[in-house]
Symmetry: D2
Subunit: 319 residues, 4 copies
Amino acid sequence: MMALDSALDWQQIMAAVERAVMPHIGAGKVADYIPALACIDPRKFGMAVALRDGTMRCLGDADERFSVQSISKVFTLALTLQRVGEALWDAVGREPSGSSFNSIVQLEAEKGIPRNPLINAGAIATTDRLVHSYGGGQAGAWEAMDDLLDTARRLAGDQNIDIDCDVAESESQSGSRNRALAHFMASFGNMKNPVEDSLSAYFCHCSIAISCRQLARAALFLAFDGFDPVTGEEVLSKERCQRILAIMMMSGHYDNSGEFAYRIGLPGKSGVGGGILVVAPGHGTVAVWSPGLNQAGTSMVGSIALEELVRQTGWSVFG
Amino acid sequence: MMALDSALDWQQIMAAVERAVMPHIGAGKVADYIPALACIDPRKFGMAVALRDGTMRCLGDADERFSVQSISKVFTLALTLQRVGEALWDAVGREPSGSSFNSIVQLEAEKGIPRNPLINAGAIATTDRLVHSYGGGQAGAWEAMDDLLDTARRLAGDQNIDIDCDVAESESQSGSRNRALAHFMASFGNMKNPVEDSLSAYFCHCSIAISCRQLARAALFLAFDGFDPVTGEEVLSKERCQRILAIMMMSGHYDNSGEFAYRIGLPGKSGVGGGILVVAPGHGTVAVWSPGLNQAGTSMVGSIALEELVRQTGWSVFG
Amino acid sequence: MMALDSALDWQQIMAAVERAVMPHIGAGKVADYIPALACIDPRKFGMAVALRDGTMRCLGDADERFSVQSISKVFTLALTLQRVGEALWDAVGREPSGSSFNSIVQLEAEKGIPRNPLINAGAIATTDRLVHSYGGGQAGAWEAMDDLLDTARRLAGDQNIDIDCDVAESESQSGSRNRALAHFMASFGNMKNPVEDSLSAYFCHCSIAISCRQLARAALFLAFDGFDPVTGEEVLSKERCQRILAIMMMSGHYDNSGEFAYRIGLPGKSGVGGGILVVAPGHGTVAVWSPGLNQAGTSMVGSIALEELVRQTGWSVFG
Amino acid sequence: MMALDSALDWQQIMAAVERAVMPHIGAGKVADYIPALACIDPRKFGMAVALRDGTMRCLGDADERFSVQSISKVFTLALTLQRVGEALWDAVGREPSGSSFNSIVQLEAEKGIPRNPLINAGAIATTDRLVHSYGGGQAGAWEAMDDLLDTARRLAGDQNIDIDCDVAESESQSGSRNRALAHFMASFGNMKNPVEDSLSAYFCHCSIAISCRQLARAALFLAFDGFDPVTGEEVLSKERCQRILAIMMMSGHYDNSGEFAYRIGLPGKSGVGGGILVVAPGHGTVAVWSPGLNQAGTSMVGSIALEELVRQTGWSVFG
């Protein structure tokens, strides 16, 4: 496999990706539920590939920070698993939901247990457990967010990752649906903290501003069985790492997850900020960003870029 | 990768699998909706691993034929894609359903288009298109089944694969739910043949009697980009092969698919006869059989065997 | 009450109704799922009021026969209750469904027991029990339909009520949804006869051709505690009659039942043939017919006529 | 009808009701989601009948105040219709929900518009409009509650009706589900005030302590076309009154409404405090109270009492 990757001609690959995306730049619909997202230039496009040796291959606006949105759910999941262990699975399942990102129907049928940690309800329940592991309340929420941010900065090797407080404030103000999900779970006893405390942490981690380069680098441990291949740090156990990838594969893109697996064949997570993170086990990670979304809230141009990248590299887990 | 697999000590691996399953033999609930399945000895257990060079590693009742049930949906999907191409996707989607195998709720919300070809409704729609591609009607149904059976025999290199007519008859007699699904799709215009014609083919292909050895061998092309690695035959294009694996990964075990990906990390398909087929891209295929099922209709002991096998071989696609 | 009704000036009332409907004649959408309904002139309008003493007040096309469609469910319910008694309530509930007339979702959640006898699934289950009470099978189906037709003719005092066989045949040919409902209930054990036998009876009784005059007269017993006020015949017990009216009030117009109660305030039943039957307890019955339907499948002009009639007569059960 | 009622032998009627309920006293399950309800003696039973001339017929604990709970939704609806008129129907529908009292599923399918004003979501939306009509905010909430309480006292002719602040506080503390409903509606833009303001009013009006005698008297106008038959005050227009009764008939008991209409045949509203209010148009009103509930949250003994009362009086609207 090493041999294989070392034979890849990255200049040619990145050129092919660029050719593939060019005709589509600006396509899709920019998220407009909060002003901070709505005003992003739809023609932005960045991509960063992080490889085993820590080298990066970048395209376009790879160093511009964007709103991480739901991609943060992966890091929240990893950190929460580290802190509360398998007890997390009392609060949230690990099946694909078959529904859109913020559906409440399934929650009623399944008594307040969200299907998986990558839909909104599941990420809120996960965040709630994380906050609780720091003592709960607003103090716990702040500490949890500090730790999450520190972790991201350390893994990315870059201090310049921050929570965008304007975005977090906007998220909170327009957060009626997420509030409904949280109170609904609370009505089934599936929230350990006051709803607003856990939600404040949730809105914060969704509002992290990060670049493709930072994101791909920070997630690199996911491609190498939980070990950062450059520093050698064990971020997660191998088994836990595989399982996070399984959840990303099954549920990383809401009701578009099947299509993503079908077209791209790698575990990933998309956010309505237009970012997508994918993990190629044994090879590396890729972060793309382009704000225009498809109907399911996944970056349109980002998907095209990833599809071409996988075609060029043969990184699909399916052969 | 070659190097890696050639280093595997199969005697040790199979012994480890045997040790893992022994305490659980007989666990789970045998399917009892038709007499032909209900009377199977719950203590049966077989496993067969097919490798790139065509060699097989077998355990227990690996040569006893069992009822393939839903595993046939994979072959029906492959054959139908060969015959009708991408037009199949007008009839059926490729998202996980998030529901049990025979749910009708999603069909109403989505106007008669089943979520994927591996749930009952989706396999019926797929079979309907296959039958239609053979001219339709009862004659088309027979021809489709003949071709499917011939294909399975040819790929397995074994003529001793047959439709169990008693099972097929029982399936039809107890097939009210599948009839409901078919008529429901028909009410949305999503059946091209008279319902009973397509259902007869559907009940037949679910009633194929096949052994673990035959099944693993017949599916080997799925592990090698669509090419049978022994004969060199191109059964499917590489892209189509990857996509079938993606669908198996996402939807191969109904509302247990997430759990299967989480624990085993390989694309697979289970049947209520107690069989499971999994594909390890670049490595080989595994067929297990043990009749006792978990709540979601997946073989309990079969799952344990696969989990241990993956632990031993490192074949998970997630690292 | 007698005094009150005898004071009604019917000439004035019918003139008011006529004035109210005139501007709307032709409004709504004629049912087009079968040709026999689609070809009806949308400008037809008839109304017949049957009073305690057997006198009738008629308007427009009150003597033209139209397709009774779902209105027959009331008579099927009455006859079935007479023959199988309270055991019917094992097969069907008596709550409003909150869903459209042919929804299958509720059936899955409630294990094959339809919400009430006036939605399609519930009327099929009711018809199934009726057919079974005549010995079942196709013979039972014929006998049940003969008896239903005889009953309608006797109550209407008019032999000229018939099953329109072309409509019945069309209903059967386009009956995929109803077949799905029936097979779905069968899968839960909630059909006592072969599905096609019960469906043949169901399609027949929906295809009765009847005029407003005949319909209002035949239903008159429902307005007088189960006794035909002219002949004195006890068709139903008082309690059973009240309960049928309760079910009509709650569920007579699918997901438009609340609106109908709100606007008209009388128990009724509508059919997609454009007919509506309403019962004014202690006063009489009204049948209207106008083929153009609203979104919920209730006659638009018919509703307007009834609303005006109730305004003029003060017959609302709500004061 | 006057003649009829004046012939009723109330001593005999009340004795019959007493005989009917006696064997069942204490049956059912007392609501236990808040301590203030859980501690009520399950053997309590009271009934009060208010007649046209203002006379009352009472049984048992008719003068003991109990928690009005959802019955207040009728008064809130009446007052809101008086203040905002038909615009209310932009916020809430008038169809039976077919679901339990606090279901959120329908809200998602129907974009935040509750089915009717008598389920929790609908009553919250109605309360929100009422609060908004008083200027909104916490001040509007207080004023709305003051006015509602004044109205109830005036109609009952009794100042001794109050909000039980302990109950209101408990309702708020255990109000996660109602909070979820409110935020969910807010996410569709169907709340005009901050959620907590409208909820505080909602929790207050559910916490009114009132006796059967007070309740029956206060509601008497509903039985007489909107006019208080004793004082002659026009509380509501005749049309509006009829329509409120229609909504009570269709939706007054959640997913038990059909059963209530079937057994009792009068428009009514039940509350989990164990009270039921029914209206017999042209005759009078009945309030019963007994804390033990059936599965749908309706008083078991209260239902038995009403069934017997209707049998004795012939007050069913269905004949």
